[in-house]
């Protein structure tokens, strides 16, 4: 789960990290009022969950009332990579002489958190990591001990942060790590951490992503979740509780288990088709989940045919078959052709139950995918 910049900044500020004066606004008037209150120049920043806001026109500087109004009009309501901007953060524009990157993430390879500092802040850190990996100093943290004070200092000095601000930067990093740890963050970063002419540090941007699996113990952060989706399908997936990713193809895919669903996508591609989505209905799929999954792929206008691939372990083939029958029987006309492949526990019983008039049944994964791709081509 991603926090918006303004939400993350509140969390950071509460923890003692210096942040610029700012206010959230959702109308042009509110933007102008906030800008007048804060004093010019201000930055007007779109609050949406997409990367590269700045390049996409989601951040504008305003030196006076007129520019603030213009920025608000430009940004509020604009479409940023599929998301509509409904709120902006109006923020004091800070003068700076340096921009740093300071962050903590999980190094999955090591199974340990890693703290990172770079004097090449202000740009996408992943680009820095690729182009000039030595520009990022890293320090792994033992998850049992947490970050020692010396580690924060070490990574700051290793990064070549000027000595005048090293202690303050180390302190920001220590606080970030503490937040990362206490609040179950997956990633937390300040980029850029600005160094002003007076050697003050200010968090000019803020990223804080929370481990979805830990939201149960971070109820206040969970409440901050902004349930905006790219489209109605992603929203539906959220409501139904499916792992769902929309793609651009025309063969709809439903399956159980992440690895098997990915494989089904890959096979669609392999046999010359184009996958429309990733949809994992999970283990022990009951009739209502089957119906919901079908509803999703049928709602996708791009989908021309569907492959339904279930390998029953815990999931029983006969139950899935009943679910498919009952879901499809509700249609006067079934909107897309559905190919079903059942394997594993009670697969044979399931295949017997399936209504041949509603679906095409195939025995092997390869046959099922090829048949679906064929149908999709015909319908396209």
């Amino acid at each position: 789960m991603k926090l918006h910049e303004y939400q993350a900044k509140r969390v950071f500020a509460d923890a003692g990290i210096p942040t610029p004066a700012s206010a959230l606004a959702s109308s042009v008037d509110e933007v102008v009022d906030a800008a007048e209150e804060i004093g010019y120049p201000v930055a007007v920043k779109a609050q949406v969950h997409v990367g590269g806001r700045g390049k996409a026109g989601g951040i504008k500087l305003a030196d006076d009332r007129e520019e603030a109004e213009q920025a608000a009009e430009d940004i509020l309501g604009m479409d940023l990579k599929g998301y509509t901007v409904e709120e902006v953060l109006v923020e004091e524009a800070v003068n700076f002489k340096n921009e740093l990157y300071v962050g903590v993430t999980m190094d999955r390879g090591e199974g340990e958190p890693v703290a990172m500092v770079s004097t090449k802040g202000g740009v996408n850190i992943e680009e820095v990591a690729e182009e000039d990996p030595d520009a990022i100093a890293r320090e792994h943290v033992d998850p049992a001990f947490g970050m020692h004070g010396y580690q924060a200092r070490k990574v700051v000095y290793d990064a070549g942060v000027p000595r005048e601000v090293a202690s303050d930067v180390a302190s920001v990093l220590s606080t970030l790590f503490q937040l990362w740890d206490d609040r179950d963050a997956s990633d937390i970063e300040v980029n850029p951490l600005m160094i002003t002419e007076d050697d003050e540090v200010v968090a000019a941007d803020a990223v804080m992503n929370i481990d979805d699996d830990a939201l149960f113990r971070q109820p206040d952060l969970a409440e901050m979740e902004d349930e905006t989706y790219e489209d109605d399908l992603e929203r539906k997936a959220g409501e139904y509780g499916f792992d769902y990713v929309r793609l651009s193809g025309n063969t709809g895919i439903i399956g159980n288990g992440a690895g098997l669903v990915m494989t089904t996508l890959d096979l669609v591609d392999y046999y010359g088709g184009s996958p429309a989505n990733f949809l994992d209905i999970g283990g022990g799929a009951k009739a209502d989940r089957v119906a919901n999954a079908l509803d999703m792929v049928f709602s996708d206008e791009n989908v021309d045919a569907v492959v339904f691939n279930i390998f029953g372990g815990i999931t029983r083939g006969d139950e899935v078959a009943k679910g498919i029958n009952s879901a499809l029987e509700q249609f006067d006309e079934i909107p897309k052709r559905v190919v079903v492949r059942l394997a594993g526990t009670n697969a044979e019983e399931g295949r017997e139950i399936l209504n041949d008039e509603l679906v095409t049944v195939e025995e092997t994964l390869e046959d099922a995918v090829q048949r679906a791709v064929e149908y999709a081509e015909v319908e396209a």
Binding site: E112, E126, D184, D266, L267, G283, G313, I314
Partner: protein
């Protein structure tokens, strides 16, 4: 022969009184697994499927001489349950639970470096030595005893590949699901090392997926350390960057690492043929035998 589990493995089920715990205890016992105890705090003294329940894993291990456990405990309490099993200590802990917070697993991972216990999972289907014992939720009926080892990050994909093998009459020594989470206990290399050392394992299937660099590391290990032939499969060739494909670990990072292409290349470079379909994996294995 087999690796890690066999008919003598004495199993504690953690969370045996819950719905999943109870169901799979029954399934495991039906398959022949030697389930000797359950462990659930506050439920000591009860019985489930004729198996005595203890309040702590340590009591269960001591009283019933158990050496392995299967964890069916909800995500919020699962890491604690794993710690309990590691510290009991048991030899093998199989964590089925999906959705354990990553930071909990980082702490577990640290403890793993301090103990001799082996962890499988979390978010894994478990382990099976066909005809002897299964610890977890794998459907026993698709497996058959034989000479191929299998290690996989995925559950149902494992079943798919096993089905492709078994239907050709190719049986398995042991099949291991290592789990789809970013931080797991036993990894590909650990499992491959065990299969390499197992005399009966004549070929190995390794099913990977996008995300992380474990497959690349495994490829290097295979090139440098393995005589037993390995065939691979990588799921997620068509996955777009930045999206989580079901498994918490299955995400291609924006910076181009963790892609299917990188993994397939690494495996090919290590002399490991990678199937385009699960069935092709079975073809490669058939060629090896």
């Amino acid at each position: 022969m087999s690796i890690l589990v066999d008919e003598d493995t004495r199993v504690v089920v953690q969370g045996i009184t819950g719905g999943e715990g109870k169901f799979h205890t029954q399934q495991m016992m039906e398959y022949g697994t030697n389930v000797v105890a359950g462990a659930v705090p506050g439920k000591g003294g009860q019985e489930v499927e004729g198996v005595p329940v203890y309040d702590t894993v340590e009591q269960a291990a001591r009283e019933e001489d158990a050496d392995a456990s299967v964890v069916f405990v909800p995500p919020a309490f699962a890491a604690d349950a794993v710690f309990e099993a590691l510290d009991a200590p048991l030899d093998l802990v199989v964590a089925i639970t999906e959705g354990i917070p990553t930071q909990d697993m980082a702490k577990v991972n640290k403890r793993l470096s301090e103990v001799d216990t082996r962890l499988l999972g979390p978010n894994c289907p478990g382990i099976i030595t066909p005809g002897e014992s299964k610890l977890g939720i794998l459907p026993g009926n698709i497996f058959e005893s034989g000479n191929v080892g299998l290690v996989s990050r995925s559950g149902t994909l494992t079943y798919q590949v096993v089905d492709n093998l078994t239907s050709r009459g190719i049986g398995q020594t042991t099949a291991i699901g290592i789990g789809g989470d970013p931080i797991i206990g036993t990894d590909f290399i650990d499992a491959l090392e065990l299969f390499e050392a197992d005399e009966d394992t004549e070929a190995v299937v390794m099913c990977g997926e996008i995300g992380g660099e474990d497959e690349e590391d495994a490829a290097q290990f295979i090139a440098e350390n393995m005589d037993t032939p390995v065939a691979g499969f990588i799921a997620g060739r068509t996955a777009p960057p930045g999206k989580r494909m079901g498994h918490a670990g299955a995400i291609v990072s924006g910076s181009g690492t963790g892609t299917a292409e990188s993994k397939i290349d690494a495996l090919n470079d290590a002399g490991v043929p990678v199937g385009d379909t699960p069935n092709e994996v079975a073809d490669h294995i058939e060629d090896f035998l």
